[in-house]
């Protein structure tokens, strides 16, 4: 039925579908037009929908999310592409001071349905500043949604949901997965739910929580654990904000043990929020310390050493073993 798509193809398919369905959906960003985006996520859209719906912007990272705010107030549903997450810092002002609060501060008079997309994370031997993952900063902004797919099908369904959402959503695409995996994706316009975790694999001994590209190593570790006789439940957070703690609490309520995996620096990472939720509402279930396997609290190294920075299957396994052995 559906085609076997890569993640970037799934993104492109969802964009095409959303633009087909709703004439108010437009795409903006650097090189999104003829060039189809530096990762080709918008390839072919300019030809299909014309230059008025696929708009190349000047290099003005602070302005073009504000531009999207203006468009959004006029009935458009803009989708803004940042070329790499490392160039998204200038967007924080508009995201935090405007997009995320326009509805609240005008008591619903003006609203801001927009999507900001950016490839994020490391592992593709990219140049300096091209491998950042600071989703936690975005997750701290009230009024925003932050969504991260972990597979092509998730990318398709969650991006459609993000585009249809009446509020601003930041959609971060793990670029390490852009072309590394294929999955059947039915271009049926079906959205996946936001604000909800996905349990990718059941298990009663250990809960493993992750999102984005790290899901791959987490699942691989869970495989190894299964061979060792340990049933690891793997939860894909998918929506980083708002966080679906209920699903995690229910799982840890059964397993009593939890390993959290993310690529961003440990301090202030989203993993801290999950662990904090467990230390509060899940404390009585905990049979072992909540371990975080994360990027280190340092600058993402240039690519020769980035593999040492990223959470590896081995580091995840080590943490899982420690959690299982704790008594």
């Amino acid at each position: 039925m559906g085609d076997q798509l890569t993640l970037v193809e799934a993104v492109r398919t969802a964009l095409g579908r959303a633009m087909e369905d709703d004439g108010n959906v437009i795409v903006l960003g650097e090189d999104v037009g003829l060039n189809g985006g530096v990762f080709r996520a918008t390839d072919g859209l300019a030809e299909r929908f014309g230059p008025d719906r696929v708009i190349d912007t000047p290099i003005s990272e602070s302005m073009f999310v504000g531009l999207a705010v203006g468009l959004a107030t006029q009935g458009f549903h803009p989708i803004v592409e940042y070329q790499f997450m490392g160039f998204m810092y200038p967007a924080l002002d508009q995201l935090a001071n405007h997009a995320s609060r326009l509805r609240n501060r005008t008591r619903g008079r003006l609203t801001c349905p927009l999507v900001v997309r950016a490839p994020y994370g490391g592992g593709v031997h990219a140049p300096e500043h091209h491998s950042e993952s600071f989703e936690a900063m975005l997750a701290h902004i009230p009024g925003l949604r932050v969504v991260i797919p972990s597979s092509p099908a998730k990318a398709y369904g969650l991006l459609l949901a993000a585009i249809r959402d009446p509020d601003p959503v930041v959609f971060l695409e793990p670029k390490r997965l852009y072309r590394s995996i294929r999955e059947e994706v039915d271009d049926d316009g079906g959205a996946l739910p936001l604000d909800r975790c996905f349990t990718l694999r059941g298990g009663d001994d250990l809960t493993m929580v992750s999102w984005g590209a790290s899901i791959a190593e987490t699942l691989a570790a869970a495989e190894v654990l299964a061979a060792e006789g340990v049933g690891a439940e793997v939860i894909d957070i998918a929506t980083i904000k708002p966080l679906d703690m209920d699903t995690i609490l229910a799982s840890v309520g059964r397993t009593g043990r939890c390993v959290i995996v993310h690529e961003a620096a440990r301090t202030g990472g989203v993993g801290a929020d999950i662990a904090a939720g467990l230390a509060d509402e899940g404390l009585t279930s905990l049979l072992a310390p909540v371990t975080r396997v994360t990027g280190y609290d340092t600058v993402m190294p240039l690519f020769r050493n980035e593999h040492h920075y990223l959470p590896s299957e081995q580091r995840i396994l080590d943490a899982a073993h420690r959690a299982m052995e704790f008594a």
């Binding site: 912007t57 203006g70 959004a72 001071n97 008591r107 619903g108 008079r109 009230p142």
Partner: protein, 359 residues
């Protein structure tokens, strides 16, 4: 070999001199006394509002407030040059324009009084609310203008900000993008010579702020911002030009901030009183009044009546404002999202409990 590849000119417009005498042929609207009197009234109302708001702040009945004393002609020029369907994207010192656009004084009091309902304009649904982070609204204005262009509407976005704001990258990026797409947007620089304590000269080495337009590849002009007829005329031209596809424009309106930056400021710390007194001589309300009197359109009795009317209108607004009880604590979660996500229900419930306990 060195040859010229481009040249640019900045021009300035004025009609009425500081003494109320006419310097050149007036625009058509100025031959209609009712129009002029309407503009005069709008300026006086703005000044009345500002004075009252400052007084309310001084007596603890309002938060920090930014008066537009001496700058009323720019606001009224904006308000009268725009069509109802156009969209105003203002800074925080454009109350006169907002009133003409259908925002009512008690809404602005609510806003400065610390209540979000002040942004929910009952009579003006599509303009933007006050923007506090300097210059950030310029990007919204170009977004609105892009929407108008994409929709093939004959509407224009008008964005105002101060001299200080012209130093912000956002403003430049927005002007530059407006140029690229030839968007129907007019940027009004309300140059009151000061950004809090920083004088215009320390903000930029540019001899005019209108020339910011040149860097962005768009048209730029100056206008005497204390001459409401000139402001309205220049803005009407700019807006009509933008409306008919002529592209964006920057209009620098020259005026002077005759009072403190806000009620939290003390301008005597950084600028001499003599400078301020000197500038009082060129202020816009007396100027238009002198002109109207000259022309036989205005007389002392009408002045008194007008002052009473404006005072009554503002007093009524204050009464209305003071009748607003604060919103309940849970209101902070209202309109945060279209539907409050499950994750935050517990927090809202906690506030609800507080509400209940508070009575």
């Amino acid at each position: 070999m060195r040859h010229e590849v481009a040249s640019f000119r900045i021009r300035a417009t004025s009609y009425i001199g500081p003494d109320g005498t006419v310097a050149s042929d007036l625009p058509a609207f100025a031959s209609d006394p009712e129009q002029l009197i309407g503009m005069y009234r709008a300026m006086v109302l703005t000044r009345t509002f500002d004075a009252k708001a400052v007084a309310l702040q001084r007596t603890g009945r309002l938060g920090t407030f930014a008066s537009s004393l001496g700058q009323e002609a720019i606001a009224v020029g904006i308000g009268t040059a725009m069509a109802p369907d156009d969209v105003l994207v203002p800074s925080f010192r454009e109350q006169g324009a907002m009133f003409l656009r259908g925002v009512v004084p008690n809404e602005l009091l609510l806003y400065w009084g610390g209540d979000e309902r002040g942004n929910d304009f009952a009579g003006q649904r599509h303009d933007f609310p006050i923007c506090v982070p300097i210059g950030t609204q310029a990007a919204h204005a170009v977004g609105v203008a892009l929407a108008m262009q994409l929709n093939h509407e004959r509407r224009v976005a008008v964005c105002s900000f101060g001299d200080g704001a012209t130093s912000r990258g956002d403003v430049y990026e927005s002007m530059n993008f407006a140029g690229v797409r030839q968007l129907p947007v007019v940027f009004v620089i309300n140059n009151n010579q000061w950004a809090i304590s920083v004088p215009r000269s320390a903000q930029s080495a540019a001899v005019t702020l209108a020339q910011k337009a040149i860097g962005a590849g768009i048209a730029g002009e100056q206008v005497d911002g204390n001459d409401v007829i000139a402001v309205r005329a220049v803005l009407t031209d700019a807006i009509e030009r933008a409306r008919s596809g002529g592209g964006p424009m920057v209009v620098e309106a020259l005026t002077y901030r005759l009072t403190d930056h806000t009620t939290a400021d003390d301008a005597s710390r950084y600028r001499p009183d003599a400078e301020v007194s000197e500038r009082w001589k060129a202020e816009p309300i007396a100027r238009l009044r002198d002109f109207l009197v000259h022309q036989g359109h205005w007389a002392r009795e009408r002045e008194e009546q007008l002052i009473d009317e404006c005072a009554a209108e503002i007093d009524a607004a204050v009464q209305d404002y003071e009748g607003y009880r604060p919103m309940p604590p849970t209101s902070m979660f209202e309109h945060l999202y279209a539907t409050l996500p499950h994750a935050y229900l517990a927090q809202r419930a906690e506030l609800h409990e507080l509400e209940r306990l508070d009575g």
